[in-house]
């Protein structure tokens, strides 16, 4: 079941992406809009089913480290997007589902098929830490992608091009607002997640943990960075464009840190 769902989930996300693309490029109101809703619902059900299957196989809360965490971020990203944007604009849906599909594809292709039970750790802080960081990562990705869309739309408007971007994206102001709200959510959740993690690491005496750990530093940096993005509207001289640029930059930083964590394996998270 896990193997089948591992294949089906990214496929469903990319099918939804394709239907968003149709919406974005062709007609706003077509039969594909209804089809898209069903495909999105199916993708979410399959993704939920994948985690349920992993929990059943592990016999409890499965270990959410590594690529499985990436899959969880993809799910949170889609849920956050659907909650905030409610699918009103094809352009945002296209980008978010492309991102979610790509994250899930990586998780499916590179992640383990077997599920393991999470280690026996102080449950409350562990859960707070893990879920805060996961949702914060999704909010951060969302903020970064909205920032990217702001920059694209702004550039398109400056160049007087009124193509699909103009048609399929929310207004500049809405994109700027979403960027900052995403950044604020990321900032708050990262603060909770990092503090919860530090408390738990001390309590559980996690080997290799230190405040100079690269991942801790990256997360702290991201937290401060997105705190600045979320409050940029109150800082003289900083415009929505600066905020968007910073959010998109923060998103890139997150990607780099994920690569560092998964490929270079430089963090205490990789200790046995």
């Amino acid at each position: 079941v896990i193997q089948a769902l591992t294949v089906l989930v990214p496929v469903a996300y990319f099918q939804a992406t394709f239907l968003f693309l149709l919406d974005f490029l062709v007609e706003r109101r077509g039969t594909h809009v209804a089809a898209r809703r069903w495909v999105v619902a199916a993708a979410l059900a399959l993704h939920g089913g994948l985690f349920a299957a992993r929990a059943v196989e592990a016999g409890g809360l499965p270990d959410l480290g590594g690529w499985t965490a990436l899959s969880a971020v993809a799910l949170c990203l889609v849920l956050l997007h659907l909650w905030t944007a409610r699918g009103r604009h094809a352009g945002t849906g296209l980008l978010i589902f492309t991102a979610a599909g790509t994250l899930q594809l990586l998780a499916s292709a590179l992640g383990p098929l077997e599920a393991h039970l999470a280690p026996d750790r102080p449950a409350a802080f562990y859960l707070v830490h893990v879920f805060s960081i996961l949702v914060a990562s999704a909010a951060l990705v969302l903020s970064g992608l909205y920032g990217l869309l702001y920059l694209l739309l702004y550039r398109s408007l400056r160049q007087r091009r009124f193509g699909p971007l103009f048609d399929g994206l929310p207004s500049l102001e809405d994109l700027a607002r979403s960027t900052r709200r995403g950044a604020l959510a990321a900032f708050v959740l990262l603060a909770i997640g990092i503090n919860g993690g530090i408390w738990w690491a001390h309590a559980a005496q996690v080997p290799g943990f230190g405040y100079t750990d690269p991942l801790v530093l990256v997360l702290l940096g991201l937290m401060l960075h997105f705190g600045l993005v979320s409050g940029s509207g109150h800082i003289p001289g900083l415009t929505a464009r600066h905020a968007s640029l910073a959010a998109a930059g923060g998103f890139t930083l997150l990607l780099v840190s994920l690569v560092a964590m998964q490929v270079v394996r430089i963090s205490f998270h990789e200790h046995p």
């Binding site: 007087r160 091009r161 001289g237 415009t239």
Partner: protein, 415 residues
């Protein structure tokens, strides 16, 4: 078309379809120059009636000339000297008539089906009448065109959801700001277009609306109508610094908004870009304003690109308008032909009466023999031949609806 009008009606002009805004603004005829330009037009040898239609998207010279007068080069020289040959179009006779009906129906407008053109056409005809430049032929043409314009809008979906350049400008602002609840919009110019923009902004729920006008009283009157604020142009710089969106709708006032007016923009803490939309011809905003960072500046040609987004739905809405246009052209030409045939029919009747009197006299003077009866038959047949000959001549000049449909299609293909 009656033989004579086919050879006498001539149109020379340029529009958003053929020429860029820079050229359109150079060729535009503002209201204060209209009398002189009409007089020059009327003074051309061979021009019997004249009318100038000058809007933000087109400048067209309409003339009824003496038979077969070759006036097109003179008309091009009068108004469109700066334009390349390909940027100026010229239509004669039936094609000119079809073009006029399409213009009135809004099918040739930048925003398909926009209704401002009807008022503009009416005003152009009135101005020509006031100057004594117009005449019965152009008056009839314009009246028919106005009827066609109204009919197309009432019988197709083009009349639903009134779309105009002003509406497109407000839609553009909507794409930048989303809901207008917290935004401040400044409208420079309190004329018809300015008011139209203001009404759309109010409909969209704009936070604060300010009118700026050269005549402060006029700005105050417009503001009072819409519950807005007002000021004179001397306060423009400060108002621009406070505004989120600026709509410039002035008539022939030169560049009322320049880089200097936006000096305070950097000092004012501005999170979102400033939107500047210029709906004036000639342009009221210095093009260099667009180079400033944080400014999104658009003119009418840019709005034309936005309009393309709406084109599909508007083309669907205009379904059936071509049929109406062909029917109206046919009706117009038929009515003209019947009108043209009326004197001939009256003459015919008189001649018939004369001949009949003669025949009756002849018949009354003697008993009706078979020869006389034969003579009466002969005479009546001759009368019939004459009558039919005249009527046939008149009717021959009315083209069938099918022919007109084909001609209309050829016209569309040539565009």
């Amino acid at each position: 078309m009656s033989g004579s009008l086919e050879r006498r009606l001539l149109l020379v002009g340029l529009s958003h379809r053929s020429a860029p805004l820079e050229l359109r603004e150079r060729c535009a005829v503002p209201p204060e120059r209209l009398p002189a330009r009409l007089a020059s037009l009327r003074a051309l040898a061979g021009v019997e009636e004249a009318l100038i239609l000058s809007t933000c998207n087109r400048t067209e010279l309409w003339v009824v000339t003496a038979e077969n007068a070759a006036l097109e080069p003179a008309l091009r020289d009068l108004c469109f000297r700066d334009a390349a040959a390909s940027q100026v179009y010229g239509f004669r006779g039936l094609q000119a008539l079809i073009h006029l009906f399409r213009v009135a129906a809004g099918l040739d407008s930048l925003v398909l089906g926009e209704s401002q053109i009807l008022a503009q056409l009416k005003a152009a005809a009135q101005a020509a009448r006031d100057q004594g430049a117009s005449g019965p032929e152009l008056d009839k043409l314009v009246s028919a065109a106005l009827v066609v314009g109204k009919r197309v809008r009432s019988e197709t979906d083009l009349g639903q959801g009134s779309l105009s350049v002003a509406r497109i400008a407000v839609d553009l602002a909507h794409r930048v700001f989303g809901a207008f609840g917290d935004n401040r919009a400044l409208i420079v110019g309190a004329g018809e277009t300015g008011l139209l923009v203001a009404r759309h902004l109010v409909d969209q729920g704009v936070g604060t609306l300010v009118f700026a006008n050269r005549t402060a009283e006029r700005a105050a009157a417009a503001a009072a109508e819409l519950g807005a604020l007002s000021c004179g142009l001397e306060a423009l710089e400060g108002e621009v610094a406070r505004a989120d969106a600026v709509f410039v709708c002035v008539d022939n006032a030169g560049h009322v908004l320049t880089r200097e007016h936006l000096r305070g923009l950097r000092a004012a803490r501005r999170d979102e870009p400033l939107l500047v939309v210029d709906l004036s011809v000639p342009r009221g905003v210095d093009p260099k304003v667009a180079e400033l960072p944080g400014v999104l500046c658009y003119d009418l040609d840019d709005l034309a690109r936005v309009v393309d987004e709406h084109r599909h739905s508007r083309e669907r809405a205009s379904a059936g308008s071509d049929t109406i246009l062909v029917a109206e052209v046919h009706k117009f030409l038929s009515l003209r032909s019947y009108a043209a045939a009326a004197p001939a029919i009256a003459t015919l009747r008189a001649r018939f009466e004369g001949v009949r009197e003669e025949v009756l006299d002849a018949v009354a003077g003697a008993r009706t023999s078979p020869e006389q009866l034969q003579l009466a038959h002969e005479l009546s047949r001759r009368l019939l031949d004459v009558a039919l000959g005249q009527v046939k001549e008149s009717i021959r000049q009315v083209r069938s609806a099918e022919e007109l449909g084909a001609e209309y299609q050829r016209f569309l293909d040539s565009l």
